[in-house]
Protein backbone atom coordinates (compact mmCIF):
# COMPACT_ATOMS: atom_id res chain seq x y z
CA UNK A 1 0.00 0.00 0.00
CA UNK A 2 2.81 2.42 0.81
CA UNK A 3 3.88 2.54 -2.82
CA UNK A 4 0.64 4.07 -3.97
CA UNK A 5 -0.17 5.93 -0.79
CA UNK A 6 -0.57 9.69 -0.87
CA UNK A 7 0.15 10.21 2.80
CA UNK A 8 2.58 8.13 4.79
CA UNK A 9 3.26 8.69 8.47
CA UNK A 10 5.87 6.63 10.27
CA UNK A 11 6.67 6.37 14.00
CA UNK A 12 5.33 9.84 14.63
CA UNK A 13 5.90 11.29 18.07
CA UNK A 14 4.90 14.62 19.57
CA UNK A 15 4.99 15.97 23.10
CA UNK A 16 3.82 19.29 24.48
CA UNK A 17 6.05 19.77 27.48
CA UNK A 18 5.84 16.56 29.52
CA UNK A 19 2.55 15.60 27.89
CA UNK A 20 3.12 12.97 25.21
CA UNK A 21 0.30 13.60 22.76
CA UNK A 22 1.33 11.24 19.96
CA UNK A 23 3.17 7.98 20.66
CA UNK A 24 4.49 6.15 17.65
CA UNK A 25 1.76 6.74 15.09
CA UNK A 26 1.76 5.06 11.67
CA UNK A 27 -0.74 6.01 9.04
CA UNK A 28 -1.19 5.50 5.32
CA UNK A 29 -3.77 7.16 3.15
CA UNK A 30 -4.18 5.87 -0.38
CA UNK A 31 -4.55 8.28 -3.26
CA UNK A 32 -8.20 9.23 -3.32
CA UNK A 33 -8.70 7.60 0.04
CA UNK A 34 -10.81 9.06 2.81
CA UNK A 35 -9.70 8.35 6.34
CA UNK A 36 -11.74 9.35 9.35
CA UNK A 37 -9.98 9.94 12.65
CA UNK A 38 -12.19 9.50 15.67
CA UNK A 39 -11.56 9.35 19.38
CA UNK A 40 -12.26 11.15 22.64
CA UNK A 41 -10.94 14.69 23.11
CA UNK A 42 -7.32 14.67 24.13
CA UNK A 43 -6.69 11.52 22.12
CA UNK A 44 -4.28 13.35 19.83
CA UNK A 45 -6.33 13.19 16.64
CA UNK A 46 -6.24 16.95 15.99
CA UNK A 47 -2.51 17.04 16.70
CA UNK A 48 -1.99 14.15 14.28
CA UNK A 49 -3.93 16.04 11.62
CA UNK A 50 -1.82 19.16 12.23
CA UNK A 51 1.32 17.09 11.90
CA UNK A 52 0.29 16.05 8.39
CA UNK A 53 0.68 19.62 7.10
CA UNK A 54 3.32 20.38 9.73
CA UNK A 55 1.28 23.10 11.36
CA UNK A 56 2.55 21.22 14.39
CA UNK A 57 6.15 20.11 14.00
CA UNK A 58 6.62 16.53 15.22
CA UNK A 59 9.40 15.51 17.62
CA UNK A 60 10.19 12.26 15.87
CA UNK A 61 9.26 10.04 12.96
CA UNK A 62 8.53 11.02 9.39
CA UNK A 63 5.77 12.60 7.35
CA UNK A 64 5.35 12.17 3.63
CA UNK A 65 2.69 13.78 1.47
CA UNK A 66 2.99 13.07 -2.22
CA UNK A 67 6.69 13.15 -3.07
CA UNK A 68 7.79 15.36 -0.20
CA UNK A 69 9.08 13.67 2.90
CA UNK A 70 10.30 15.15 6.15
CA UNK A 71 12.05 13.29 8.95
CA UNK A 72 12.13 14.54 12.52
CA UNK A 73 13.99 13.74 15.68
CA UNK A 74 17.65 13.19 16.52
CA UNK A 75 19.97 14.65 13.95
CA UNK A 76 17.17 15.71 11.62
CA UNK A 77 17.32 19.36 10.67
CA UNK A 78 14.05 21.22 10.97
CA UNK A 79 12.79 22.48 7.61
CA UNK A 80 13.03 26.26 7.20
CA UNK A 81 9.95 28.44 6.95
CA UNK A 82 9.99 28.66 3.15
CA UNK A 83 10.16 24.88 2.70
CA UNK A 84 7.38 24.47 5.24
CA UNK A 85 5.22 27.08 3.53
CA UNK A 86 5.66 25.45 0.14
CA UNK A 87 4.77 22.07 1.59
CA UNK A 88 1.62 23.39 3.28
CA UNK A 89 0.47 25.02 0.06
CA UNK A 90 -0.17 21.52 -1.31
CA UNK A 91 -2.49 20.47 1.51
CA UNK A 92 -5.76 22.19 2.27
CA UNK A 93 -6.99 22.49 5.82
CA UNK A 94 -10.39 23.29 7.23
CA UNK A 95 -10.65 24.33 10.87
CA UNK A 96 -13.27 23.82 13.53
CA UNK A 97 -13.70 27.58 13.95
CA UNK A 98 -13.48 28.39 10.22
CA UNK A 99 -10.72 30.98 10.71
CA UNK A 100 -11.97 33.05 7.82
CA UNK A 101 -10.21 36.39 7.40
CA UNK A 102 -12.76 38.89 8.77
CA UNK A 103 -11.21 41.90 7.03
CA UNK A 104 -11.77 40.41 3.58
CA UNK A 105 -14.90 39.63 1.62
CA UNK A 106 -15.79 36.05 0.88
CA UNK A 107 -14.28 36.36 -2.58
CA UNK A 108 -11.10 37.95 -1.23
CA UNK A 109 -10.81 35.15 1.33
CA UNK A 110 -10.85 32.56 -1.43
CA UNK A 111 -8.51 34.60 -3.65
CA UNK A 112 -5.96 35.19 -0.91
CA UNK A 113 -4.08 31.90 -1.25
CA UNK A 114 -3.78 31.96 -5.05
CA UNK A 115 -2.74 35.63 -5.10
CA UNK A 116 -0.33 35.73 -2.17
CA UNK A 117 1.08 32.22 -2.21
CA UNK A 118 0.77 31.11 -5.84
CA UNK A 119 1.41 34.62 -7.23
CA UNK A 120 -1.55 34.24 -9.55
CA UNK A 121 -2.78 37.26 -11.50
CA UNK A 122 -5.78 38.88 -9.78
CA UNK A 123 -8.13 38.25 -12.69
CA UNK A 124 -7.25 34.56 -12.88
CA UNK A 125 -7.49 34.20 -9.11
CA UNK A 126 -10.91 35.80 -9.13
CA UNK A 127 -12.14 33.40 -11.80
CA UNK A 128 -10.79 30.47 -9.81
CA UNK A 129 -12.27 31.81 -6.57
CA UNK A 130 -15.70 32.29 -8.12
CA UNK A 131 -15.59 28.74 -9.46
CA UNK A 132 -14.75 27.41 -5.99
CA UNK A 133 -17.50 29.49 -4.40
CA UNK A 134 -19.93 28.16 -6.99
CA UNK A 135 -18.85 24.65 -6.08
CA UNK A 136 -19.85 25.17 -2.45
CA UNK A 137 -23.00 26.98 -3.55
CA UNK A 138 -22.09 30.45 -2.31
CA UNK A 139 -21.14 32.43 -5.39
CA UNK A 140 -23.86 34.96 -4.63
CA UNK A 141 -22.19 35.74 -1.30
CA UNK A 142 -18.91 36.72 -2.97
CA UNK A 143 -18.99 40.36 -1.94
CA UNK A 144 -20.16 39.86 1.63
CA UNK A 145 -17.97 39.84 4.68
CA UNK A 146 -17.73 36.64 6.74
CA UNK A 147 -19.48 38.29 9.70
CA UNK A 148 -22.73 38.33 7.70
CA UNK A 149 -22.70 34.58 6.98
CA UNK A 150 -24.13 31.67 8.97
CA UNK A 151 -21.76 29.12 10.47
CA UNK A 152 -22.46 26.61 7.73
CA UNK A 153 -21.85 29.20 5.04
CA UNK A 154 -18.62 30.27 6.72
CA UNK A 155 -17.36 26.72 6.76
CA UNK A 156 -18.25 26.23 3.09
CA UNK A 157 -16.30 29.40 2.27
CA UNK A 158 -13.39 28.01 4.28
CA UNK A 159 -13.55 24.83 2.20
CA UNK A 160 -13.60 26.92 -1.01
CA UNK A 161 -10.62 28.89 0.28
CA UNK A 162 -8.65 25.69 0.84
CA UNK A 163 -9.72 24.25 -2.54
CA UNK A 164 -8.57 27.40 -4.34
CA UNK A 165 -5.00 26.28 -3.67
CA UNK A 166 -5.87 23.17 -5.74
CA UNK A 167 -4.42 20.89 -3.06
CA UNK A 168 -3.68 17.18 -3.41
CA UNK A 169 -4.93 16.48 0.07
CA UNK A 170 -7.64 17.99 2.27
CA UNK A 171 -7.54 17.88 6.05
CA UNK A 172 -10.68 18.52 8.08
CA UNK A 173 -10.31 19.35 11.76
CA UNK A 174 -13.74 18.83 13.34
CA UNK A 175 -15.23 20.90 10.56
CA UNK A 176 -18.79 20.60 11.85
CA UNK A 177 -18.24 20.68 15.62
CA UNK A 178 -18.85 24.42 15.99
CA UNK A 179 -22.02 24.41 13.90
CA UNK A 180 -25.63 24.48 14.96
CA UNK A 181 -27.13 21.05 14.29
CA UNK A 182 -29.29 22.23 11.42
CA UNK A 183 -26.23 23.60 9.59
CA UNK A 184 -24.13 20.45 9.77
CA UNK A 185 -25.71 18.83 6.73
CA UNK A 186 -24.72 21.49 4.20
CA UNK A 187 -21.06 21.19 5.18
CA UNK A 188 -21.07 17.40 5.18
CA UNK A 189 -22.64 17.48 1.71
CA UNK A 190 -19.69 19.45 0.38
CA UNK A 191 -17.21 17.05 1.98
CA UNK A 192 -19.12 14.10 0.57
CA UNK A 193 -18.99 15.64 -2.88
CA UNK A 194 -15.22 16.05 -2.59
CA UNK A 195 -14.90 12.42 -1.61
CA UNK A 196 -16.87 11.34 -4.65
CA UNK A 197 -14.54 13.40 -6.85
CA UNK A 198 -11.60 11.40 -5.56
CA UNK A 199 -10.01 13.93 -3.23
CA UNK A 200 -7.61 12.39 -0.72
CA UNK A 201 -8.90 13.40 2.70
CA UNK A 202 -8.25 12.96 6.38
CA UNK A 203 -11.23 13.90 8.48
CA UNK A 204 -11.24 14.38 12.23
CA UNK A 205 -14.88 14.14 13.18
CA UNK A 206 -17.47 13.31 15.78
CA UNK A 207 -20.06 12.57 13.10
CA UNK A 208 -19.87 8.81 13.30
CA UNK A 209 -22.72 8.20 10.88
CA UNK A 210 -21.04 10.49 8.39
CA UNK A 211 -17.66 8.79 8.84
CA UNK A 212 -19.35 5.45 8.21
CA UNK A 213 -20.89 6.80 5.02
CA UNK A 214 -17.99 8.73 3.52
CA UNK A 215 -14.73 7.30 4.87
CA UNK A 216 -13.26 4.11 3.50
CA UNK A 217 -10.96 3.71 6.46
CA UNK A 218 -11.43 4.62 10.07
CA UNK A 219 -8.89 5.10 12.82
CA UNK A 220 -9.84 5.16 16.46
CA UNK A 221 -7.31 6.92 18.67
CA UNK A 222 -6.97 7.17 22.40
CA UNK A 223 -4.18 8.63 24.56
CA UNK A 224 -1.91 9.26 21.59
CA UNK A 225 -2.15 5.74 20.21
CA UNK A 226 -4.04 4.13 17.35
CA UNK A 227 -6.30 1.67 19.14
CA UNK A 228 -8.11 0.27 16.16
CA UNK A 229 -7.97 0.74 12.43
CA UNK A 230 -9.84 -0.77 9.54
CA UNK A 231 -12.55 -0.31 6.93
CA UNK A 232 -14.89 2.36 8.29
CA UNK A 233 -18.07 0.28 8.27
CA UNK A 234 -16.40 -2.71 9.80
CA UNK A 235 -14.85 -0.74 12.68
CA UNK A 236 -18.07 1.11 13.41
CA UNK A 237 -20.41 -1.85 13.07
CA UNK A 238 -18.24 -4.52 14.66
CA UNK A 239 -15.42 -2.93 16.69
CA UNK A 240 -12.84 -5.42 17.94
CA UNK A 241 -11.44 -3.42 20.84
CA UNK A 242 -13.29 -2.77 24.06
CA UNK A 243 -12.17 0.88 24.06
CA UNK A 244 -13.61 1.39 20.57
CA UNK A 245 -16.87 -0.22 21.62
CA UNK A 246 -17.06 1.97 24.71
CA UNK A 247 -16.43 5.14 22.70
CA UNK A 248 -18.86 4.25 19.91
CA UNK A 249 -21.61 3.43 22.40
CA UNK A 250 -22.03 7.21 22.88
CA UNK A 251 -23.11 7.70 19.27
CA UNK A 252 -25.83 6.76 16.88
CA UNK A 253 -23.71 4.95 14.38
CA UNK A 254 -26.09 4.56 11.49
CA UNK A 255 -29.25 6.11 10.28
CA UNK A 256 -29.91 9.06 8.09
CA UNK A 257 -27.26 11.70 7.65
CA UNK A 258 -28.33 15.21 8.55
CA UNK A 259 -30.30 16.61 5.63
CA UNK A 260 -27.89 17.95 3.05
CA UNK A 261 -29.83 20.99 2.05
CA UNK A 262 -27.42 23.53 0.64
CA UNK A 263 -30.00 26.25 0.85
CA UNK A 264 -28.08 29.43 1.45
Amino acid sequence: MSETSKIEIRSLRKSFGSNEVLKNINLDVAKGGVVALIGPSGSGKSTLLRCINLLVVPDGGSVRVGDTRFAFGDGAKLPDVKTLAKFRAGTGMVFQHFNLFPHMTTLQNVMEGPVTVRRMAKADAEKLARAQLAKVGLVEKADQYPATLSGGQKQRVAIARALAMEPDVMLFDEATSALDPELVGEVLAVIQQLASEGMTMVIVTHEIAFAREVADRLIFMRDGLVVEEGPARQVIDTPREAATRAFLSHFHRTGALPPATTAS
Binding site: N53, L55, V81, K82, A85, K86, F87, R88, A89, G90, T91, G92, M93, F95, H97, N99, L100, F101, P102, H103, M104, T105, E112, G113, T116, V117, R118, Y145, P146, A147, A158, R161, A162, M165
Partner: protein, 220 residues
Protein backbone atom coordinates in the same frame (compact mmCIF):
# COMPACT_ATOMS: atom_id res chain seq x y z
CA UNK B 1 -9.78 91.67 39.02
CA UNK B 2 -7.20 90.84 36.35
CA UNK B 3 -7.54 92.81 33.14
CA UNK B 4 -7.13 90.44 30.20
CA UNK B 5 -5.46 91.91 27.15
CA UNK B 6 -5.03 89.38 24.37
CA UNK B 7 -4.51 92.15 21.83
CA UNK B 8 -0.94 92.52 22.92
CA UNK B 9 -0.13 89.03 21.60
CA UNK B 10 -0.79 90.13 18.04
CA UNK B 11 2.64 91.72 17.78
CA UNK B 12 4.19 88.33 18.59
CA UNK B 13 2.19 86.46 15.94
CA UNK B 14 5.21 85.55 13.81
CA UNK B 15 7.05 84.26 16.83
CA UNK B 16 4.07 82.05 17.75
CA UNK B 17 3.58 80.82 14.20
CA UNK B 18 7.23 79.99 13.98
CA UNK B 19 7.06 78.06 17.23
CA UNK B 20 3.89 76.29 16.14
CA UNK B 21 5.59 75.23 12.92
CA UNK B 22 8.49 73.74 14.86
CA UNK B 23 6.11 71.95 17.23
CA UNK B 24 4.03 70.44 14.42
CA UNK B 25 7.07 69.49 12.35
CA UNK B 26 8.73 68.01 15.37
CA UNK B 27 5.64 65.96 16.17
CA UNK B 28 5.50 64.54 12.66
CA UNK B 29 9.13 63.45 12.94
CA UNK B 30 8.84 61.88 16.38
CA UNK B 31 5.55 60.14 15.60
CA UNK B 32 6.94 58.60 12.41
CA UNK B 33 10.27 57.64 13.98
CA UNK B 34 8.52 56.55 17.16
CA UNK B 35 6.21 54.23 15.20
CA UNK B 36 9.25 52.77 13.48
CA UNK B 37 10.98 52.12 16.81
CA UNK B 38 7.66 50.80 18.10
CA UNK B 39 7.36 48.33 15.23
CA UNK B 40 10.92 47.15 15.80
CA UNK B 41 10.32 46.86 19.54
CA UNK B 42 7.08 44.94 19.05
CA UNK B 43 8.56 42.48 16.57
CA UNK B 44 11.56 42.15 18.88
CA UNK B 45 9.42 41.12 21.83
CA UNK B 46 7.55 38.64 19.63
CA UNK B 47 10.72 37.20 18.11
CA UNK B 48 11.62 33.52 18.21
CA UNK B 49 15.13 34.49 19.32
CA UNK B 50 15.67 35.08 23.00
CA UNK B 51 18.47 37.63 22.47
CA UNK B 52 16.16 39.80 20.36
CA UNK B 53 13.37 39.51 22.90
CA UNK B 54 15.70 40.60 25.70
CA UNK B 55 17.07 43.49 23.66
CA UNK B 56 13.57 44.74 22.81
CA UNK B 57 12.40 44.38 26.39
CA UNK B 58 15.41 46.29 27.71
CA UNK B 59 14.75 49.12 25.26
CA UNK B 60 11.07 49.29 26.12
CA UNK B 61 11.49 49.26 29.88
CA UNK B 62 14.45 51.67 29.89
CA UNK B 63 12.46 54.32 28.03
CA UNK B 64 9.06 53.56 29.47
CA UNK B 65 10.18 53.69 33.07
CA UNK B 66 12.26 56.85 33.10
CA UNK B 67 10.88 60.39 32.82
CA UNK B 68 11.06 61.96 29.38
CA UNK B 69 12.44 65.22 30.81
CA UNK B 70 15.37 63.32 32.29
CA UNK B 71 15.90 61.49 28.99
CA UNK B 72 15.99 64.75 27.06
CA UNK B 73 18.61 66.24 29.33
CA UNK B 74 20.54 62.99 29.42
CA UNK B 75 20.64 62.66 25.62
CA UNK B 76 21.87 66.21 25.24
CA UNK B 77 24.37 66.44 28.08
CA UNK B 78 25.40 62.89 28.98
CA UNK B 79 25.58 61.15 25.62
CA UNK B 80 28.27 63.44 24.20
CA UNK B 81 30.46 62.76 27.23
CA UNK B 82 29.82 59.01 27.33
CA UNK B 83 29.75 58.17 23.62
CA UNK B 84 31.51 61.18 22.18
CA UNK B 85 28.54 61.94 19.93
CA UNK B 86 27.94 65.62 19.67
CA UNK B 87 24.29 66.37 18.89
CA UNK B 88 22.35 69.53 18.25
CA UNK B 89 19.49 70.14 20.68
CA UNK B 90 17.07 69.30 17.87
CA UNK B 91 18.66 65.93 17.08
CA UNK B 92 19.01 65.02 20.74
CA UNK B 93 15.41 65.83 21.53
CA UNK B 94 14.08 64.20 18.37
CA UNK B 95 15.95 61.00 19.24
CA UNK B 96 14.89 61.00 22.89
CA UNK B 97 11.24 61.68 22.10
CA UNK B 98 11.16 59.09 19.30
CA UNK B 99 12.62 56.40 21.53
CA UNK B 100 10.38 57.37 24.42
CA UNK B 101 7.31 57.25 22.20
CA UNK B 102 8.61 54.10 20.53
CA UNK B 103 8.68 52.26 23.84
CA UNK B 104 4.97 52.94 24.35
CA UNK B 105 4.10 52.30 20.70
CA UNK B 106 5.90 48.93 21.03
CA UNK B 107 3.55 47.81 23.75
CA UNK B 108 0.50 48.99 21.82
CA UNK B 109 1.59 47.22 18.64
CA UNK B 110 2.55 44.05 20.47
CA UNK B 111 -0.78 44.04 22.27
CA UNK B 112 -2.62 44.53 18.98
CA UNK B 113 -0.80 41.66 17.31
CA UNK B 114 -1.30 39.16 20.12
CA UNK B 115 -4.96 40.11 20.39
CA UNK B 116 -5.60 38.52 16.99
CA UNK B 117 -6.82 34.94 17.28
CA UNK B 118 -4.01 32.44 16.66
CA UNK B 119 -6.27 30.65 14.20
CA UNK B 120 -5.84 33.55 11.77
CA UNK B 121 -2.09 33.06 11.39
CA UNK B 122 -2.71 29.31 11.35
CA UNK B 123 -5.15 29.64 8.48
CA UNK B 124 -2.58 31.70 6.60
CA UNK B 125 0.06 29.09 7.32
CA UNK B 126 -2.25 26.30 6.15
CA UNK B 127 -2.68 28.13 2.84
CA UNK B 128 1.08 28.05 2.43
CA UNK B 129 1.97 31.54 3.60
CA UNK B 130 5.29 32.19 5.27
CA UNK B 131 5.05 33.72 8.76
CA UNK B 132 5.99 37.08 7.22
CA UNK B 133 3.24 36.85 4.62
CA UNK B 134 0.56 35.94 7.12
CA UNK B 135 1.73 38.77 9.37
CA UNK B 136 1.49 41.30 6.53
CA UNK B 137 -1.65 40.02 4.83
CA UNK B 138 -3.70 38.56 7.66
CA UNK B 139 -2.64 39.61 11.16
CA UNK B 140 -1.44 43.20 10.82
CA UNK B 141 -4.42 44.53 8.83
CA UNK B 142 -6.71 43.29 11.60
CA UNK B 143 -4.39 44.27 14.43
CA UNK B 144 -3.88 47.82 13.17
CA UNK B 145 -7.60 48.54 13.42
CA UNK B 146 -7.49 47.57 17.08
CA UNK B 147 -4.32 49.57 17.69
CA UNK B 148 -5.52 52.83 16.18
CA UNK B 149 -7.28 54.35 19.21
CA UNK B 150 -4.31 53.62 21.47
CA UNK B 151 -1.78 54.74 18.85
CA UNK B 152 -3.71 57.96 18.41
CA UNK B 153 -3.79 58.50 22.14
CA UNK B 154 -0.04 58.00 22.37
CA UNK B 155 0.53 60.35 19.44
CA UNK B 156 -1.46 63.05 21.20
CA UNK B 157 0.81 62.59 24.19
CA UNK B 158 3.79 62.80 21.83
CA UNK B 159 2.48 66.07 20.42
CA UNK B 160 2.18 67.54 23.88
CA UNK B 161 5.52 66.12 24.98
CA UNK B 162 7.23 68.24 22.34
CA UNK B 163 6.63 71.14 24.74
CA UNK B 164 9.46 69.71 26.85
CA UNK B 165 12.09 70.34 24.17
CA UNK B 166 12.06 73.98 25.23
CA UNK B 167 14.39 72.97 28.08
CA UNK B 168 17.06 72.32 25.42
CA UNK B 169 16.27 75.69 23.83
CA UNK B 170 14.62 74.13 20.79
CA UNK B 171 12.46 77.02 19.51
CA UNK B 172 9.07 75.29 19.66
CA UNK B 173 5.78 76.93 20.56
CA UNK B 174 6.39 76.81 24.31
CA UNK B 175 9.91 78.16 23.99
CA UNK B 176 8.75 81.05 21.82
CA UNK B 177 5.90 81.83 24.15
CA UNK B 178 8.35 81.98 27.04
CA UNK B 179 10.19 84.61 25.01
CA UNK B 180 6.95 86.45 24.36
CA UNK B 181 5.85 86.25 27.99
CA UNK B 182 9.09 87.69 29.27
CA UNK B 183 9.03 90.40 26.70
CA UNK B 184 5.41 91.45 27.15
CA UNK B 185 5.00 90.81 30.89
CA UNK B 186 1.77 89.07 29.91
CA UNK B 187 2.32 85.39 30.86
CA UNK B 188 -1.37 84.73 31.55
CA UNK B 189 -2.47 85.73 28.06
CA UNK B 190 0.51 84.05 26.47
CA UNK B 191 0.10 80.63 28.07
CA UNK B 192 -3.66 80.69 27.69
CA UNK B 193 -3.18 81.29 23.99
CA UNK B 194 -0.65 78.47 23.81
CA UNK B 195 -3.04 76.05 25.52
CA UNK B 196 -5.78 77.04 23.08
CA UNK B 197 -3.40 76.53 20.16
CA UNK B 198 -2.57 72.95 21.27
CA UNK B 199 -6.23 72.13 21.76
CA UNK B 200 -7.21 73.75 18.46
CA UNK B 201 -4.93 71.36 16.62
CA UNK B 202 -5.68 68.23 18.61
CA UNK B 203 -9.46 68.36 18.86
CA UNK B 204 -10.13 68.34 15.08
CA UNK B 205 -7.53 65.56 14.74
CA UNK B 206 -9.28 63.36 17.30
CA UNK B 207 -12.58 63.88 15.49
CA UNK B 208 -10.99 62.85 12.22
CA UNK B 209 -9.55 59.69 13.71
CA UNK B 210 -12.85 58.76 15.30
CA UNK B 211 -14.46 58.99 11.86
CA UNK B 212 -11.67 56.95 10.33
CA UNK B 213 -12.14 54.23 12.94
CA UNK B 214 -15.77 53.85 11.95
CA UNK B 215 -14.85 53.49 8.31
CA UNK B 216 -12.22 50.88 9.17
CA UNK B 217 -14.68 48.81 11.16
CA UNK B 218 -16.06 47.05 8.05
CA UNK B 219 -16.69 43.36 8.35
CA UNK B 220 -16.67 43.26 12.12
Amino acid sequence: MYQWDFGILWSYRWLFLNGLGVTVGFTVVIVVCGLLFGLLGAFGTLSRFKALRLLALTFIEAFRCTPILVQLIWFYYALPILAGVEMTPITASALALSLYGGSFYSEIIRGGIISIDKGQAEAGGALGMTPGQSMRRIVLPQAIKRMIPALMNQSIIQFKNTSLVSVLAVPDLVYQSQVAAHDSYRPLETYTAVAVAYAAILIPLTILVRRGEKRLAVGE
